[in-house]
Symmetry: C2
Subunit: 378 residues, 2 copies
């Protein structure tokens, strides 16, 4: 299957219902992508991901490069085969993690020198090496290497990062075109990443520059890094306005359950977030009536499922009292079941959003959803 | 379903093929019981246990009494309902854990005063309180409270423990008969526990005394505590010779894969052991050709399944290289997949043992199995 995107319906809000075809299956959009940092979505087997209906997951180039190493994964047939995942995979470029996790040593136009957060060893990541790594991983969708900036960043700083990001995107495109045969996935495509901080003019400018380079899809990066949610949506919307209608749009690293529809209304087709699995391990369950901290003593005798409106395996089978016990006893099953429910919950929201777009009712869905969450703790 | 045991076939070695009917389903014997210490078999969902074909699992009275507390489990409908496990459950009496995990304060004929390993709080466990707790848990098979001794223990020390264990067994029986309506499982039965250390005459004497008390099943306790395996089997055999043919026999806390058939040849019908799950979390995989420490660097590029003779979900799906990566990266999925394989492996051995008994070929199975394991690392 060759990479292909079609829009099936557009909602009055601007939301798009689509189908993204990849070498590893079709992705119904808007899509939520669980994060499989080191070649595993923490706490879930690949069988569980399949049962949950996951069509695409995210892998982290930075983590996989450091451990087990991209050349090892190349020798073992690429990331799909290495982790036995038949569905689609999107890999990030490593940029965000280098800027947020690693000990940064030096950023130049050439690339970034950094120290590993695992063992302090020194490494160099550039547009070319990022593509090289992602070609070894063989993801279906690879991301270009971008410069991620902190929030807040002033106009000059953000403008410089936009300029560098465009130059790097061009180098990524050219390098990948010169090296089409080194990927373990012949159908691999690249998305460029719009930067620009919280400056609307720069978001537009970054998008326009990247559109000129003609990528099969575009991401909007550098959001959900501390700015208010409304500002985040504003930036996504400004960028999306400059992006071609017929290409998929991906906002990186968002968001909370109640925020997903907001990005969809900005014309966004894909999102990813570690929250469902990370919060699960900390005992935080997302439910249709808000967040539930399962370690709380009020759940010790509560025979109800985590979310009475949810039909996932966990909510069909287990009680809050049992999940609370597992969490208190620090049992592995606590992480497994909490992660399963949270991922199911995010996927379910996206399913409801797609259905709402199909019926032209996205605005109604969002207000109902928010009303329930605001009604308070479950 | 009422408790009922039938022997379908006896092997020339003395091994028995049987069917144990409980209020929560039939158990094909000889059976291996995975250990679900705190209401969860560590690393496995109840769905996974069902898919693995687990018919009975073990719960630990000591752990569940301390956390979340047996009265809480009673209020939530008993242990089956609390942990959403439809199959059979056997609970131990708490005796072994009190003697091995807790800070022992005082042992008298009345019972045992101990401090919790969790928070140091002081508790009292006696034959009566052990039954009371197990009635709240509502296991299908409960164990009487016994005195567990260290290895080695001299004849006088072991004889005293046998005497006390018989007295306590009688008190358990009488207490449970006086309080038949307080169990959350009306069909719950009690097994007595043969003690006697490594003294053959005491094992026989202990068994005879308990048989006089007429229990529906008998366990052989205090084994696999440091004595040589041959001596362990010798003790199991001497005890079994005194036990009635028509009652199930359960050797507690054994054993290694290559040892299971030895106990079966002593006429044993049930076994339990934490090794498959505990070793899994430490990266030790049991295979048909021996133990495999998945953290070993020699597996870093190994595309083979953990055990090429195993058809479990893990061996059908994942490579040693991937499992090694997960273990090195300290991923939850390492514990999940390693535990899944190890439990599958123990259950598979028991299935092969049952088949061999059916065909009168248990002796051949054991020597083939040992030959492969002795052939060395996989």
């Amino acid at each position: 299957m060759d990479f292909h995107f079609e829009i099936l319906k557009t909602d009055p809000t601007g939301a798009r219902l689509g189908r993204l075809t990849t070498p590893h299956g079709v992705i119904d959009t808007p899509a939520f992508m669980p994060v499989g940092t080191s070649g595993t979505v923490k706490g879930l087997t690949q069988q569980a991901l399949t049962e949950l209906g996951v069509q695409v997951l995210l892998g982290n180039t930075y983590h996989l490069y450091l451990r087990p190493g991209h050349e090892k994964i190349r020798r073992l047939g690429g990331l799909h085969r290495f982790m036995s995942w038949p569905g689609a995979i999107l890999t990030d470029s490593g940029g965000f993690q280098v800027f947020s996790l690693a000990d940064l040593r030096k950023i130049t136009d050439e690339g970034v020198v950094f120290r590993s957060h695992l063992d302090g060893s020194e490494h160099f990541l550039s547009p070319e090496t990022s593509i090289e790594i992602q070609q070894a991983l063989g993801s279906d969708i690879a991301m270009v290497f971008d410069e991620c900036i902190e929030y807040p960043a002033d106009h000059a700083r953000a403008a410089a990062a936009v300029k560098r990001t465009t130059e790097w995107a061009l180098r990524c495109r050219d390098f990948s075109r010169r090296n089409t045969e080194t990927s373990t996935n012949p159908g691999q495509v690249y998305f460029a990443i719009v930067q620009g901080g919280t400056h609307a003019d720069l978001r537009r400018e970054s998008a326009r520059q990247l559109v000129d380079l003609d990528f099969p899809g575009y991401a909007i990066g550098g959001l959900a890094v501390g700015e208010p949610h409304a500002l985040s949506c504003e930036m996504a919307a400004r960028a999306a306005e400059e992006l071609p209608q017929d290409r998929p749009r991906y906002v990186m690293g968002v968001g909370l359950p109640e925020q997903l529809a907001d990005y969809v209304r900005c014309g966004v087709d894909m999102m990813d977030c570690v929250l469902p699995t990370r919060n699960a391990r900390n005992g935080c369950l997302f439910t249709s009536t808000g967040r539930l901290n399962i370690g709380n003593a009020i759940y010790a005798d509560d025979p109800r499922p985590p979310d009475e409106r949810c039909s996932c395996m966990v909510c069909r089978t287990y009680s809050r009292a049992y999940l609370r016990h597992l969490f208190q006893a620090n049992e592995i099953l606590a992480s497994i079941l909490n992660s399963h429910h949270n991922v199911a919950f995010f996927l379910d929201i996206m399913g409801k959003i797609r259905q709402a777009i199909a019926f032209g009712e996205l605005a109604e869905l969002s207000s109902e959803f928010l009303a329930r969450i605001e009604a308070g703790e479950p």
